[in-house]
Every structure is written in C-alpha cells, then in structure tokens.
Subunit: 216 residues, 2 copies
C-alpha cells in the first residue's frame, strides 16, 4: 500500500484528478487574461488572438476551452457573478445586526468591483449578446438586486437602519458600487479594501448636516 502511494507520487503521468485540475487552471488563465483585455481595450477591440498571444499559446488552444468570444465573455460574467454571490452567502454570518450584515456584504461587493471580473460585468454591454446569454445575465442581476433589497429590509426591521424605501435604497447603493467598476484603475491611490470602506462609509453617512449618533 505504502509502495503504491510512493509510486503514484513520482510517476510522470498525470492522474485524472491532476488532469482536471490542470485543465481548470488553464481555463481560468484564459478567462483572467480575457477579462483584463476586455476591461482595458473593450470587448469589440479584443480578438481571441490577443488572448492567445498574452498566454504564449496558439488560437486553437483557446478554442479547445471556449466555443467563441461570446462564450469567453459570458464565462467572465459568470465568474464575476459567482464572486458577488459568494460574498452574499459568506459575509452575512459574522454580523451582529442587519446594518452590519449589509455593510459587510457591500464592502466585499465594492472590492469585487475593483477586480477585472467585477469590472467586466459593468463595463461590457450585453446588448449584442445572444438572447439566451442576456437572459442568464439578467437572471443573476435580478437575483442579487433582490438579495440586497432583502438585506436592507431586514436591517430596517431589526432597527439597525432608519426606515427608507428598500427599492430606492438598493438602486442608490448598487449605483455607487457598480460605478467603481467603471472608473477604477489599478493605479488608483487607495488600496481596494480602503476604497471599499470609504465609499460604503460615505453612503451610510450621507451628506446632511446635524449630529449623528450611531446605534448598534
């Protein structure tokens, strides 16, 4: 038994698991490179040849992983949405009340908007995609719009946030945060976590004069 394990480890042949991991990591590299190019030079101006060149491979290698450019773009959106949805799942648990839960989620969301996959979901228009791809994307968008709206409602209900219209509040919040994906540059002066905290802090604080007392 011990000997067989030892043999396996030193074998130059990949196990099916190794192969799957390698395939996945190559696919991820294609997506990361494409997302970065889409963000910088735009979707229309980016050719699959540019992606291949950056990775030092030939174009057919890319087409082994993806059918066409739209397929790559949709996969980039999916990664972006998966990142956002994972924050909606994970960040809620550590909070003491609704307002803190909302803030935690928004910090994570804002940080994703400073990354290429998050930026893609905002910068690249979906109008020229196939109807099927657009519907998939709209479904994701409606899903986390409604999740944020529920977080706002819960925070109002447990008294940790003042009463407001959850729909208007969600549009106001998501506008500010999604907009980060539009203007953010890696060369910006604030690290992503600090930028996220600054924007979310500003949203919570508002712009009105007067004494404010935080209630937890």
């Amino acid at each position: 038994m011990q000997r067989s394990v030892h043999l396996k480890r030193t074998s130059p042949f990949l196990t099916p698991e190794d192969k799957e991991r390698e395939r996945q990591s190559k696919r991820d590299a294609v997506l990361q490179t494409a997302a970065s190019l889409f963000c910088v030079q735009g979707y229309n101006a980016t050719q699959m040849g540019d992606v291949a060149e950056q990775l030092g491979v030939t174009k057919p290698t890319i087409y082994y992983y993806f059918k066409n450019k739209e397929d790559v773009l949709v996969a980039c959106f999916e990664v972006g949405f998966e990142l956002i949805e994972s924050t909606l799942r994970d960040e809620g648990n550590r909070a003491r009340n609704g307002a803190e839960r909302l803030r935690n989620v928004l910090h994570a969301y804002a940080e994703i908007m400073t990354q290429d996959f998050g930026k893609c979901t905002i910068r690249i228009s979906t109008t020229d995609m196939s109807k099927q791809s657009r519907e998939r994307i709209d479904q994701h968008r409606r899903k986390f719009d409604s999740r944020i709206r529920s977080l706002v409602k819960a925070a109002i209900e447990d008294g940790s946030m003042p009463p407001c219209d959850p729909k208007i509040a969600t549009f106001t919040i998501l506008g500010s945060l999604n907009w980060i994906g539009q203007w953010h540059k890696e060369s910006g002066d604030l690290p992503p976590a600090d930028l996220a905290r600054a924007i979310v802090g500003q949203l919570f604080l508002g712009f009105e004069n007067g004494r404010k007392k935080r209630v937890r």
Copy 2:
C-alpha cells in the same frame, strides 16, 4: 417697413433664418431618434437605416446631416453633456447655500439620466470610438466631475455639509446618479422628478441610525 414685414410673413420662400431653423430641427429629430434606438437596442445593433425608417426618410437624407454612425453617436453624447452642463450653469444661482446648490444641480442631473440623451452617455461604451472622439468625451466627463467636486468643497466650506473627502463623495454621488441611466425605464412607477428627488434624498440622508438635525 411694416409692409415689408408683412410680405416676408406671407412669402412661400424660406428666409435664411427659417432654413437654418428647419435644418436644425431636422438634425435634432435624427439625433433624438438615434439616441432612443441606441438606448433600446444598443449601438452596434442599430443601423442608420433604422433611424431613417423611423423618420420616414431615406438613408442618404441622414448622411446629409452626419458623416457616419459614430458621428451621430458623438453628437448624441454632446447633447447629453450640454444638458448636464447647462444644469451646472443654471441651477446654482437660486440656492441659499452650498448644500442646496449641490442638491439642485443633482436633481437636474438625475432627471437628465432618465432621458435618452443622458442614458446614451452611460449605456454606450466609448471604447470603439476614434481616439479623437474619446478624448472629447473624456474632457466633458472630467469637466463635470471637477464641477461637482467644487460644489462639494464649497458646501463643506460654508458649513452647509459635514466634512468629507470631496473625491470619494463625488464618486459616490455620480455613481448613484449615472446608474439611473443604466436601469431607468420609461415605464417605471415614479415620474422622473420624483425619482430624482428620491435618489438624491436617499444619498443625502445616508443609512445610519441616529438623530439628525438639518442645518440650513
């Protein structure tokens, strides 16, 4: 003198001023139709033939006013920016202090984002435009970003707004308002003026609990 005026009014021939007015109103109609189509079906999917068809004219008629589709798009952006810049000029004068001046400008800005020309400036990506067009557009954007930033600074200085980072504040505000251009539908339940007031009001109020006292 009176007679000549009378003659002019009943003449079936257009004066040079009439001709210029007519040319301008036809050009405006082309832009309004194009802006509306760009917003609904996207820039790439819209052909100049679609614009001509909607106006009941032939394609060459459109090309009498504009060189090509990009020329039409850039002109739509220019109208959108001109609308925004006119609010920055006009809305400031009626205000009693910096915070009120900022709010007035933002209400007008938010309303423009519910109109086709405003929506165009947000929905249509500029990445595929010529370098020259992109630079003109970036110049406009920098200009009103810096105008909003000055309004924020002035409101902090005259004490009508609490201290904050004007750069972060401007990104937060413009994000929420520009985002209206992305999601707004004519069929929405709030009239533009009410929607503008709701979003700007929410931005000013913030989401923090605690007593607030308005200082004017």
